[in-house]
């Protein structure tokens, strides 16, 4: 394991031990009461919920997740470019032209998403 990563792994171990200890403590220290049926129902501010079989959820959320992936890759490609842009500018606008083409294409993508009202929340 490279030298920089070991502290992160140690911190993960510390966090897991802390979380397990606390939940264990609650399990030991907490009062043990017989779970009454009312308490077991999902909490709906006192109203007994009509739980039909498949709760219909608005499926619209998946489109945001899809667009998130595609724009996240654009951001990931910008990071290495950002590190090198300053130094390579000394050698001509070549590095500038590359990113202008890349960003134009993807800004058109964002513009299409905006105009196609794909992100509309009624």
């Amino acid at each position: 394991m490279s030298e920089q990563l070991v502290p992160v792994l140690v911190l993960t171990a510390v966090v897991i031990v802390f979380a397990a200890a606390m939940i264990g403590l609650t399990f030991l220290a907490g009062p043990k009461r017989k779970p009454t049926p009312e308490k077991q129902l999902p909490y709906e501010c006192g109203i007994v919920g009509k739980e039909h079989e498949t709760t219909r959820f608005p499926v619209k959320f998946y489109l945001t997740a899809i667009l998130f992936i595609l724009f996240d890759i654009e951001v990931i490609f910008l990071y290495p470019w950002a590190l090198v842009y300053g130094d390579l500018l000394k050698f001509g606008p070549f590095i500038l032209v590359e990113i202008i083409v890349f960003m134009l294409v993807l800004t058109f993508g964002l513009f299409y998403v905006w105009k196609a009202r794909a992100l509309e929340w009624d």
């Binding site: 920089q4 502290p7 140690v10 939940i23 609650t26 907490g30 009062p31 077991q40 724009f71 990071y79």
Partner: protein
């Protein structure tokens, strides 16, 4: 983590200590969150338990431990138990890359006051922060409650929408510092405001060399995006007490509920620390670089601490580290108070306004900021 056993032990103790400090500041923040707005709204806030209500923190913490452990019947047992851990773990891991102060070199060993000095510090924080969505989705789905599920979906789609805006707004900062490691970013923010414009230096003596003066638009975008990322008001619709009761952690009680709080406040602390490191010079004093602070302590360090057996440079390095730690805590403390301050001044967004703000204002504006920085750097570096 160092080669000899002594260094490994000390580093492990340091990691555990920093984690415990971060976890113990959460009740402190809860206390400030209850006393601060009470002061703003001209009321008292908790002051019964202990002086100024400070022991209220301990009372809350112990109360959480003695709560009854209960699981709703419709819950998915395994995921229901894992969800709090899944929110706490990323929040704690993101704090690993933040540099708290200058390294201490004492008795021949040097210890970095930072859990992990990663050379990919910034995107390590974004990578681990993006894993926080799993805890929210797992909590919402596994508690078997319709409203919790809806709250989880809203919270996660809000978080991922603002992740792009946060990522893009930071690109401008990266172009300026040309490094991911947060330590190098701080070293480039020493001294007063100066930059090279086509070869000739431009200096403004009255401004510190902080990132916020180079990238004001990126600062505003990053600040707004961090508010949304940590589900803080005015972006906390998924947990909006009015509609969704408590959003994705409705079915949780006792310490599991507290772990969700720790996750949220952990993200808040890391975001405040990130804002200070990226835009406000991290642990460095405004116009004074750590070397000058060391010189200062070497001159009159011995008058203060004559009795410790350490040699003179050790005392000086310890004192510089302490001063820089105080500076870092002051700056991060201010931004934490800013998070709480905004919570009690701005009303909550409606969900479509919230998503529109993410996709249709923050994202285009960060593209504008990117274009602006590119153009400025192009003209600044082309020597006519």
């Amino acid at each position: 983590m160092g080669t000899t056993w002594l260094e490994i032990i000390i580093n492990t103790v340091k990691i555990a200590a920093i984690f415990v400090i971060v976890v113990s500041t959460v009740p402190l923040l809860v206390w400030v969150e209850r006393r601060g707005p009470a002061f703003m709204q001209n009321r008292l806030g908790p002051n019964r338990v202990g002086p100024l209500g400070l022991l209220q923190l301990a009372a809350d913490a112990i109360k959480f431990i003695f709560k009854e452990e209960f699981i709703p019947t419709k819950a998915e047992k395994i995921l229901y138990f894992m969800a709090p851990g899944l929110t706490l773990l990323p929040a704690a891991l993101t704090f690993a890359a933040i540099p708290l102060s200058t390294p201490i070199n004492i008795l021949g060993y040097t210890f970095k006051l930072q859990i992990a000095d990663l050379n990919i510090g910034l995107i390590y924080i974004f990578a681990v922060a993006s894993l926080g969505v799993y805890g929210i989705l797992a909590a919402g789905w596994s508690s078997g409650n319709k409203y919790a599920m809806l709250g989880a979906l809203r919270a996660s789609s809000q978080m991922i929408s603002y992740e792009i805006a946060m990522g893009l707004s930071v690109v401008g900062v990266l172009m300026m510092y040309q490094t991911f490691s947060l330590n190098q970013m701080i070293t480039e923010q020493f001294g007063y405001f100066s930059f090279l414009w086509q070869g000739s230096a431009v200096e403004l003596k009255f401004l510190p060399n902080w990132g916020v003066f180079f990238q004001p638009l990126a600062f505003i975008l990053f600040l707004t995006a961090t508010f949304a990322e940590t589900n803080r008001l005015p972006f906390d619709l998924p947990e909006g007490e009015a509609e969704l009761v408590a959003g994705f952690h409705t079915e949780y009680g006792g310490f599991k509920f507290n772990m969700f709080f720790m996750g949220e406040y952990g993200h808040m602390i890391t975001s405040a620390a990130l804002i200070t490191t990226l835009f406000f010079g991290g642990y460095a004093l405004p116009f004074i670089s750590p070397e000058q602070v060391r010189e200062f302590w070497i001159q009159n360090g011995h008058t203060l601490l004559g009795f410790t057996g350490l040699s003179m440079p050790d005392i000086a390095s310890v004192l510089t580290t302490i001063t820089h730690l105080v500076v870092f805590l002051a700056k991060t403390g201010f931004w934490l108070f800013f998070f709480i301050w905004v919570r009690w001044t701005l009303p909550r967004f409606r969900y479509d306004q919230l998503m529109d703000l993410g996709w249709k204002t923050l994202l285009p504006w960060s593209l504008v900021n990117l274009a602006l920085t590119t153009a400025l750097m192009y003209f600044a570096r082309i020597v006519k």
